[in-house]
């Protein structure tokens, strides 16, 4: 195995072990979307009428509609949690080990991203499994096609977290990230309501939702769950991934970024 793959394997395994040993984090990662799905969606179902929009070919219940958005939410939370752990790691010093390895720094950061994405995919499948137990199911091919798509969307939100962890001086606590990153990204997207609904309320909010990379990530997942690839959403998600990754690598460049600004 090449040195690159050895490092990747070690980083992914370690991240997985850490996640499994933190049972509370695993349960929280599952309970959060399930509450949305089984409580919020049930209550909201009557309030929101949905027309037939692609990829759906018939009327669907609200529970069915929000599943892709909740998959995206799982990845968003996971990406931000990974970025927080990076800030914590850097302060505690173990990030230094990573940064002083003779392997290229971009590769080590990509390994971290892949590790975080792998964890988020485990969580999404666990969530989809529980949703299926409650009768909320997708076509079989959707469960397969969504896998590569979750890699792309997971990397995109993970890269955003990585960029934030390198550029923002201090992510004091998770509440700050919730207020300023997760909630705006989640609510200003197509996760909870189709964009045409938003357009009826406010043109401006609709436009913000339409440029939000998270919207495209969610749409990518939504179409994939029905065995289709939404090329426009794929393109926007990849573009956002490239931009966020570029920012993250810039932030972790030893000549720039946070490390230089000694606290």
């Amino acid at each position: 195995m090449s040195p690159y793959m050895i490092a990747l394997q070690a980083i992914v395994l370690r991240e997985a072990q850490r996640f499994i040993s933190q049972r509370g984090r695993f349960i929280a990662a599952l309970v959060r979307p399930l509450v949305w799905l089984l409580v919020f969606a049930a209550g909201f179902r009557a309030a929101l009428g949905l027309s037939i929009i692609p990829p759906y070919q018939t009327y669907i219940t609200y529970e069915i509609y929000i599943v892709p958005g909740l998959c995206g939410m799982i990845q968003l939370f996971n990406g931000m949690q990974s970025s927080l752990s990076l800030v914590y790691d850097r302060e505690m010093g173990s990030m230094r080990l990573l940064l002083t390895s003779p392997l290229p720094r971009w590769w080590l950061l990509v390994c971290k991203l892949l590790a975080g994405t792998a964890i988020s995919i485990l969580q999404v499948y666990a969530f989809l499994g529980i949703a299926a137990l409650f009768g909320i199911t997708m076509p079989l091919q959707g469960y397969l096609l969504v896998l590569p798509v979750l890699v792309v969307s997971g990397l995109m939100v993970g890269a955003l977290g990585l960029a934030l962890s390198s550029i923002i001086r201090q992510l004091e606590n998770f509440a700050g990230v919730m207020n300023f990153v997760i909630f705006p990204m989640f609510f200003l997207s197509s996760a909870l309501y189709p964009l045409w609904k938003m357009a009826e309320s406010s043109r401006l909010l609709y436009q913000i939702c339409a440029v939000n990379p998270f919207t495209h990530g969610v749409e990518l997942i939504r179409f994939a769950l029905y065995g289709q690839i939404n090329l426009a959403a794929l393109g926007w998600t990849c573009l956002a991934l490239a931009v966020f990754l570029g920012l993250a690598l810039w932030g972790y460049d030893p000549a720039r970024g946070l490390i230089r600004r000694k606290t």
């Binding site: 490092a7 070690a10 505690m92 010093g93 230094r96 003779p102 392997l103 000549a255 600004r261 000694k262």
Partner: protein
């Protein structure tokens, strides 16, 4: 991982004209010194002297356009990966995973350096043996005392078979016996293995008269000679206080 050909015949560590500032505050100013192969060099300086900044530059956590750093002949700016591959580092802050065993910590580190489990296995055994902690290999780091944790970190730094070993105040928080033991272990590494060691400290009793001594104060090198010569007829502690007070 391929290393480039050393551009210098003398292995070890060479620093020339290194300067660095955090905004308006000058942290290092024209720092130059060299540590030859097989030498133990103590970098002595009071808190805030610039030792940690120098270590951050040596390990490429930060970079500066002013000055040169050569590690075993590799220019850190030109060929950073070769230079980093020739270097073992023990940071001031603990960087072990407390929930993993000693051996698992070491094998994770070896993988970060691209070493396969097969390549790493014998190196890990050798490093643990050298630091006399082979019998602790299976224990969780959380269950070790401070001295053994530090030894684990030093053993870990030896896995890539470095030419230069950097230690940033490695005895902070340890009791007198553990400090003496770790200081002795690292001196032995220089004597047996031809390793060049840069040992940052603010404690004069960790320095032996025959060691090279670089005194750093307010970002400048005040003295660079054997500790015995720097001290002269006076105890090193007294001489150190006089040097830093006069500057």
């Amino acid at each position: 991982m391929g290393r480039s050909n050393p551009t210098m015949s003398a292995a070890g560590l060479r620093i020339e004209g290194l300067s660095f500032s955090y905004g308006p505050r000058q942290a290092l100013s024209d720092v130059s010194f060299a540590v030859e192969r097989g030498r133990f060099c103590a970098l002595l300086g009071p808190n805030g002297a610039g030792k940690s900044t120098l270590f951050a530059l040596l390990t490429r956590l930060i970079t500066t356009p002013c000055g040169l750093i050569h590690v075993a002949g590799h220019d850190l700016r030109q060929v950073p990966r070769s230079a980093l591959a020739s270097m073992g580092v023990v940071f001031q802050q603990p960087t072990l995973d407390m929930d993993l065993s000693v051996r698992r910590n070491l094998s994770y580190f070896a993988a970060l350096h691209g070493l396969s489990a097969r390549q790493a296995g014998s190196r890990i055994d050798a490093a643990l043996e050298r630091l006399s902690i082979a019998d602790r290999a299976g224990e969780r780091v959380r269950d070790l005392n401070g001295g053994h944790r530090r030894r684990t970190e030093i053993a870990r730094a030896l896995i890539p078979a470095p030419d230069v070993l950097l230690l940033d105040e490695p005895t902070v928080g340890l009791d007198a016996a553990a400090r003496a033991s770790i200081t002795a272990h690292v001196h032995d590494l220089c004597d047996d293995g031809g390793l060049s060691v840069l040992w940052a400290t603010h404690l004069v009793d960790e320095v032996r008269p025959e060691d090279q001594l670089v005194v750093l104060h307010q970002g400048r090198v005040l003295a660079n000679d054997t500790a015995g010569t720097v001290a002269g007829q006076r105890p090193l502690a007294e001489r150190f206080l006089a040097l830093t007070a006069a500057a």
